[in-house]
């Protein structure tokens, strides 16, 4: 999964003529710059970004204190997420996980969308650095919150279907 987790710190530098600035750059990047190409792709070209005027479920989660706020808009018809958009305040990982989460559940049945886990989001992004895992948790929870909000609008208690929403640990 995480490419990063298999790199010991400090990394083993192979003894070869490959000890070039380029190789050190690559090792340094894997340890510190932390983001996979997939994360950078979703960060620079986020999918489904924006608002949905005709959303029938909206969920906002996170807190400026820890630096991440995600807002998900879903349009649900016939138990299917026919459209989804997001807006995110936060770091590269927060934007990329929001984007990936929307992509993974767009067009899915609610029951399938609810199976979305933060792990699935991370895997789809080819991994996240450990300190950014909470962003993937936020993305999962933002989706669930938006679906809960949809059920509430339908007069249905969402908790038996969606489960409890886990809020960010730094939220008051």
């Amino acid at each position: 999964m995480l490419d990063l987790q298999v790199i010991p710190h400090p990394p083993n530098i192979p003894e070869s003529e490959e000890n070039s600035p380029k190789m050190f750059f690559e090792i340094g990047e894997r340890i510190t710059t932390m983001y996979s190409e997939k994360v950078m792709d979703h960060f620079t070209n986020p999918r489904n970004v924006g608002e949905l005027a005709d959303a029938n479920g909206i969920g906002e989660i996170g807190n400026a204190k820890c630096g991440d706020i995600m807002k998900m808009y879903v349009k649900i018809e016939d138990n299917t997420i026919i459209d989804i958009k997001f807006k995110t305040f936060g770091c590269g990982a927060a934007i990329a996980t929001s984007s990936m989460a929307t992509e993974l559940i767009k067009g899915k049945k609610i029951e399938d969308a609810l199976k979305l886990t933060n792990k699935a989001v991370m895997e789809a992004l080819n991994g996240l650095p450990p300190q950014k895992i909470h962003c993937s948790v936020l993305a999962e929870q933002a989706v669930k919150l938006a679906i809960s909000n949809y059920y509430k609008g339908q007069g249905v208690d969402p908790e038996p279907i969606v489960g409890k929403i886990v809020h960010c640990e730094c939220e008051d």
């Binding site: 380029k22 750059f25 983001y35 950078m40 960060f43 620079t44 986020p46 970004v49 924006g50 906002e60 807190n63 400026a64 204190k65 820890c66 630096g67 991440d68 706020i69 995600m70 807002k71 997001f86 807006k87 995110t88 305040f89 936060g90 770091c91 590269g92 927060a94 934007i95 300190q131 730094c170």
Partner: protein, 391 residues
């Protein structure tokens, strides 16, 4: 970005490029003149002499005497040592030592103070106003009978806000208390004269003014009894053990001399770049300048952009070859945004959206123009996808 050639480096408060003349001056001491300065044979005298020349260069740059200058490994060591020296002044060890510092210190002082607290000392952390300035009156009120040291950062590393050092040092002189300042950001930008300014102890770091990383300075006014921080051999007149880092010491001597020599020309150049940056960045809607209009280093600028988070800005800039810093939690490696910006009264969202631009003599107007061309659409793009952005 792997290609270093076209990099725009606006992170000079983090570290600076080693200047070519500094590199030229230090290289012989990594090569031909590798001798241990403490050895008895004559070859080692070349190294010993080079250290003493560097000591004189540093002393001259800050208005000190050579025998008041100690070479350290970095300013963090210097700051730690300053607290150790102050603690050594406590003649009644049964009574806890009291330190006064500020809420906006660099972690090198802040975490040293916190450690002293854990070890039983008392610490007062002075607050700052919205411009990031501490009040000399607050200092007066905080002084206690057992106060051993007042430690105030000369100019803040995140904002460049300059504290009223002369006034603070005078208060300490009148009360017979040691005054220490972490002057890491100011050398080569502001003139420093430790005697005239009544500074008792001062910390410097070479890599902030075009010397390499790994060498710092502690100035300690003559007559102040020195408690050692590192124990071992008799280097630095028995006060700071460890074989001298000769090449780096030579480098810091050369670098400090150059920094003072070109200070005026550098400031003039940087003030032009600053004006351009300031005028154009403040045209972006809902941007806040984090600093003091009248008391700021010209080479450090800090802005907060409403509605967005700093790491996103830095990543976009980095992809286009621009190096800057931010006070956002993500970039600090903790869950909290900059303690400096929070102390200045910024809310968390604004502190998360901060960007620090820090310039050196090597930066050019073309770089500033290219940076501005890239910054504006970056801010717009991130704001367009932010749920808390309100145009």
């Amino acid at each position: 970005m792997n290609d270093l050639k076209d990099l725009i480096y606006f992170d000079n408060a983090a570290t600076t490029k080693v200047s070519e003349s500094v590199l030229d001056a230090m290289l012989p001491y990594l090569g031909q003149i590798y001798f241990n300065p403490s050895s008895i044979y004559s070859a080692s005298k070349h190294a010993k002499g080079a250290i003493e020349k560097a000591r004189a260069q540093v002393a001259k740059a800050i208005g000190a005497e050579s025998d008041e200058i100690y070479f350290t490994s970095c300013a963090t060591e210097s700051n730690n040592w300053a607290f150790t020296i102050a603690q050594g002044q406590n003649k009644q060890p049964a009574k806890p030592t009291h330190f006064i510092t500020t809420q906006i210190e660099h972690p090198a002082v802040l975490n040293t103070a916190k450690q002293k607290e854990k070890e039983g000392s008392q610490v007062t952390y002075l607050s700052v106003n919205e411009e990031g300035l501490i009040s000399p009156d607050d200092l007066k009120k905080s002084i206690q009978e057992n106060t051993a040291l007042v430690s105030v950062i000369y100019a803040n590393n995140e904002t460049g806000v300059i504290q009223p050092i002369d006034e603070l040092a005078n208060i300490c002189k009148e009360r017979g208390i040691l005054f220490h300042t972490d002057a890491v950001q100011v050398i080569g930008t502001l003139p420093v004269d430790v005697k005239r300014q009544n500074i008792s102890i001062l910390s410097l770091s070479g890599h902030k003014f075009h010397a390499p990383k790994g060498v710092g300075i502690l100035y300690v006014k003559k007559g102040i009894p020195i408690t050692n921080f590192l124990f071992g051999g008799g280097q630095e007149r028995g006060r700071r053990a460890g074989t001298e880092n000769v090449a780096n010491i030579v480098a810091i001597g050369q670098a400090v001399e150059e920094a003072i020599e070109c200070m005026e020309a550098k400031n003039e150049h940087i003030k032009k770049l600053r004006k351009l940056l300031f005028d154009r960045i403040t045209q972006i809607p809902k941007v806040k300048f984090n600093g003091s209009m009248d008391h700021n280093l010209p080479n450090i600028m800090n802005f907060s952009f409403e509605g967005i988070e700093g790491e996103g800005i830095l990543l976009h800039l980095s992809m286009q070859g621009i190096c800057c810093s931010s006070g956002s939690a993500c970039t600090s490696g903790s869950l909290d945004p900059s303690h400096v910006l929070i102390a200045m009264g910024l809310d968390h969202a604004l502190a998360q959206g901060s960007l620090r631009i820090s310039l050196s003599k090597y930066n050019t107007e073309q770089e500033v123009i290219r940076f501005l061309e890239i910054l504006k659409p970056t801010i717009e793009k991130l704001r367009a996808m932010s749920p808390i952005w309100k145009p």
